[in-house]
Every structure is written in structure tokens, then in C-alpha cells.
Symmetry: C2
Subunit: 296 residues, 2 copies
């Protein structure tokens, strides 16, 4: 019996009894297995695995070789993967997919020139990020030469709980979502300074919200600090976060608060006023538990 048939058993609608944010997606009867599997094949590739063989992908994804082969042939036919000998690689075409998202986020475009000026002015890297579940995702970035241990570019992800942008974004979620996020977050002590306690994190979020910015010092990584402020949409809701990273050292905090923060605020006002209409999507914490099993 098909999974879809279950609908008969359960009766009518899937009954949104859990206080889920209105429009949630179940893995309900409407679920296309092949699409899920195909996307997982793409995700099998990554930083440390630029080229994979059929068998490797099959092992990686837990799918049968026959299935992986069909999926790869399809992706190849569509131009998303290339084959050299027995190795498969992703093609620039998959970038196109991601680009769809970026170009549907106008603020990423409008912010760029402002970010360039800002980064030059203070000679530190500057990024724009949005929230996706537990992570901050970088949607725009202007780097300056400084050699940092962390090399981030557009599309990169960092845990929200220990980054300045993450805190700003979570702090400005509507109450219900923030609570949900806090309840589900799993903070880890990345350094000895990381706030890894749920309670303390909650209090910090309150503070961030009321003071309108987040300053994080060596919580993600030793030697690294950052300040972030919220970027607002037309109707005032937070749609992104803008941050500046700086090396830790004596006076880092003072510099962050007295020099950088005001510059960030100015940049934000510019962005807020510059861009015209579409104010869309900061992303939400809703998605937190709807991940594919083979997470992150």
C-alpha cells in the first residue's frame, strides 16, 4: 500500500495540533522520493570531496548503486554534473541554483556598495547574513586582505548561537519562534568563552534585542571578535544582519563599540533607506527540524 493511501486512514487534514508556525511542511503523503534522493546526491559533494565515484556516492548517501547511477545520469543530462573517467564532479550549473536564491533577495544587492565603503573605511571584513534554522548563512561578503583562520564566502554557514549575526537574527525573531529556537539549540563550547548555557544564552538574546546589536568575543574561535546589527525591511522587521569581524586583542572591545558599531549603524541606515520595495524573507527557525537525516 502506497504511503499516500494513508490519507484515507488519518481522515481529513493532517491536523496542525502542534503549535507549528502556520505553514509547515510534513513529510506527508505528498512526498517525492526521487527529488529528495537527487538533492542528496548533489550534497554528497563537498569541500573535501570535489570528485566522487559512483560507489562512493552510493556509500555516502546510503542509496543503492543503481539508484545513484540513474540520478547521476539525470544530473549529467541536465548539466549539473560532469564525468571524467569514473569520477563525477559538480559543474558551475549548480551554482545557478543557489544564485536563484540570492537574486531573489534584493537586500544582498543593495547592501553590497554600502558594505564596500564600510569595509574600506574601517579596513575590516564585513558580511551580510540571514538565518536558516540553526545556522547563519552568509549572503554577501566584502573581505579585506587580513589573513584569518576562517575563510568565509557567500553560502558559508556558521552556528547562530555563537556568532554576532546569529544572535542578532535570533534575538529579533517573533517571540514564539525565538522560544522555539532557544528550546532546540544545542550550544557547544567552541572556546572557553562560548556561552554554552541555554539560560545564559536566553538572557544574552534579550540584551541583544534591547540594545540593538550583538558583540561576540572569541566565542566562535579564539582571536576572533565580531559586531552585528539588524538590517530592517520596509515594515520594520529584521530581514538580515550586517557584521564586521575583527581580530581580538587589547582594546578590541572598545574599538568594536566606539568605532565600528557606529559605522555599522550608519551603513544600516543607508541600506534601510536605499532599497525600494521587496523586503522579503529573513528566513526562519521553522525549518530547524525538517532536515534531511544526513544533516549539516
Amino acid at each position: 500500500m502506497s504511503a499516500r493511501r494513508m490519507r484515507l486512514a488519518t481522515g481529513s487534514r493532517p491536523a496542525a495540533d502542534t503549535p507549528r508556525p502556520a505553514d509547515a511542511f510534513d513529510r506527508g503523503p505528498d512526498y517525492v522520493q526521487s527529488l529528495h534522493r537527487g538533492l542528496d546526491v548533489i550534497r554528497a559533494f563537498g569541500v573535501d570531496r570535489p570528485a566522487l565515484s559512483l560507489a562512493e556516492i552510493a556509500r555516502e548517501t546510503g542509496l543503492s548503486r543503481a539508484v545513484v547511477r540513474r540520478l547521476l545520469m539525470t544530473l549529467g543530462y541536465l548539466g549539473y554534473v560532469d564525468k571524467r573517467g569514473r569520477e563525477f564532479t559538480l559543474t558551475p550549473r549548480v551554482l545557478d541554483l543557489g544564485y536563484r536564491y540570492l537574486s531573489s533577495l534584493p537586500v544582498a544587492q543593495f547592501a553590497l556598495p554600502v558594505m564596500e565603503r564600510l569595509a574600506r573605511g574601517i579596513d575590516e571584513s564585513c558580511s551580510l547574513g540571514v538565518l536558516d534554522g540553526r545556522d547563519v548563512v552568509y549572503v554577501q561578503r566584502v573581505a579585506v586582505r587580513k589573513v584569518m583562520t576562517i575563510n568565509l564566502s557567500v553560502g558559508a554557514r556558521l552556528p547562530a548561537y555563537c556568532t554576532s549575526m546569529g544572535r542578532v537574527l535570533v534575538a529579533n525573531l517573533v517571540d514564539a519562534e525565538r522560544e522555539r529556537w532557544l528550546a532546540e539549540v544545542e550550544p557547544a563550547s567552541r572556546t572557553q568563552f562560548t556561552i554554552a548555557d541555554r539560560g545564559a544564552l536566553g538572557r544574552e538574546l534579550d540584551r541583544v534585542r534591547s540594545q540593538g546589536f550583538a558583540y561576540v568575543q572569541q566565542e566562535l574561535e579564539l582571536g576572533l571578535c565580531s559586531v552585528a546589527v539588524p538590517v530592517h525591511g520596509r515594515s520594520g522587521e529584521t530581514i538580515a544582519a550586517l557584521n564586521v569581524g575583527l581580530p581580538f586583542g587589547p582594546g578590541a572591545r572598545a574599538r568594536a563599540l566606539s568605532e565600528i558599531l557606529p559605522a555599522l549603524r550608519r551603513a544600516c541606515r543607508e541600506i534601510d533607506s536605499t532599497y525600494p520595495d521587496r523586503l522579503d524573507a529573513v528566513g526562519s527557525a521553522e525549518r530547524i527540524d525538517r532536515r534531511t537525516s544526513r544533516g549539516a
Copy 2:
């Protein structure tokens, strides 16, 4: 009768009679419809369509509403799309897909710091691109404030035939592929300066290859010029192109050739020497005709 059954009729292997580059993909018996359709749903979103309703997507993709719904539910379940009211939007998660490709292209990482120095030195924007079929795809970019009519970012695409990076990349393809590319290109006169003649284009490509760089003046757009040089992998093959754009004006050409070109060459040598092993994929023109029907 299933399409896969056809294999019985055709006998053994699909017979690579056409002089296709060794490992080509057919839309053969191994083809997963749902994956193709699902990816098309993602591609339905774009610059001018950040939020779409079910019916709009169905119209856009030519799929039945029931199918689109199932695909959207699946994408939603996996966290690739969000739903607000009746509108669907892409989430930052799709960026993750594109990011897989970028991070599997090491040169994009290694080039960044070099590009930053270069861009600052000459105060002009600098980009790194690879070839994908008929297009150049931007995989890294360092912009400077100058207001250009064209606003490019990572993931953007431009036709190869009328851009400096495109010419460099095509010029350095192996002979067979370059011929193929030339035979299939459909040049259009984007400005009165565009080389829109196949023969002239072929000659220009030869020149570009022998001289080791491409200079393009107002062929893509009036007021815009650019110079590009090839970036090499370990084994000497061209794996990307590095370019600098500059505004057109009297002396633009002179400046491009006497000031910018040497700087580009220097930057290239740095990149060539810097990065360690993996030299992968410049992308190829192979994929040119394996596009989904609802192309670019």
C-alpha cells in the same frame, strides 16, 4: 512500455557514434523524471520572481498542479522552500547546493586574496570565471565602488563569445571542443562593436590564444571594457580566467594593455604558484546541448 525497456530494442550500448567527448550523458533509459522536474521547480524562481504561487509555478514549468504541489511539499520538507500564505520562496538552503560546487573549486579560494590586492592596486573590479557551455560563470569577484550598469556577483552568467573571460576560456579549450563551441555559438550584436560573425570570432579566438589574453571593448555593453588572462592548473591546462573590467574612454585600451594586463599577469602567476594540488575542472563546452528545454 517503459522508456527503459527500449534498451532491449537498441541492442547493447547506446553506440557513441557521434564524436562526443568520451563521457557524455544521454537522456537514456536511466533518467529520473522527478528529479528533473524538481530542479525545474527551483529554477522557476528568479530575479524577477522571488515569490511564486503554486499555480504560477505550474504555469511556468508546464507541469500539472498536482505534481508541482508534491514537489513543493518535498522541497519544503527538506527546507529548500518556505511558504508564506500562498506564496512560496526559496530559502538560504538552496545556496548550500551552489556552495558545494564553489568549495569543490579550490582555485576560487586561493585566488581571492590575490584578487583583492589586484583590485585595490588598480582600483577596478576583478573577477574569476569558468566556462559552462555557452556561458562564463562568475565564481569569485572583488568589486570596487564604481557604479557600473552591470551588477555581477558570484553565480552570474554572461555569454562567453562577447566577454574577455569567455574568449580566454574558449580559446584555450582543446581543438575539438573549441571547434564544437564555435560551430554551436550563436553570436548576437549586443552593441555595434560586438563580433557577431562566426569567422571573425574564430580568428579572434586564435589571436587570443596565441597572445595569451583577451581584450574586449564595448562588445558586451557600451562604456564597458575588460581584459582577461587564463589561470592555469598544475598540469598547465586552463582552469579559469581572471579579468578586470574598466570603463571605456579615451586611453582605455592603452591603460588596459600597459597597466592592467601586467598586473593581471602578475596576479595569475601568484595564483598558479600558490595553490597546491587539486587542479580540477575548468568546465567544458560539452554540456552545451544537454540543456533542459526551458533553458537559461
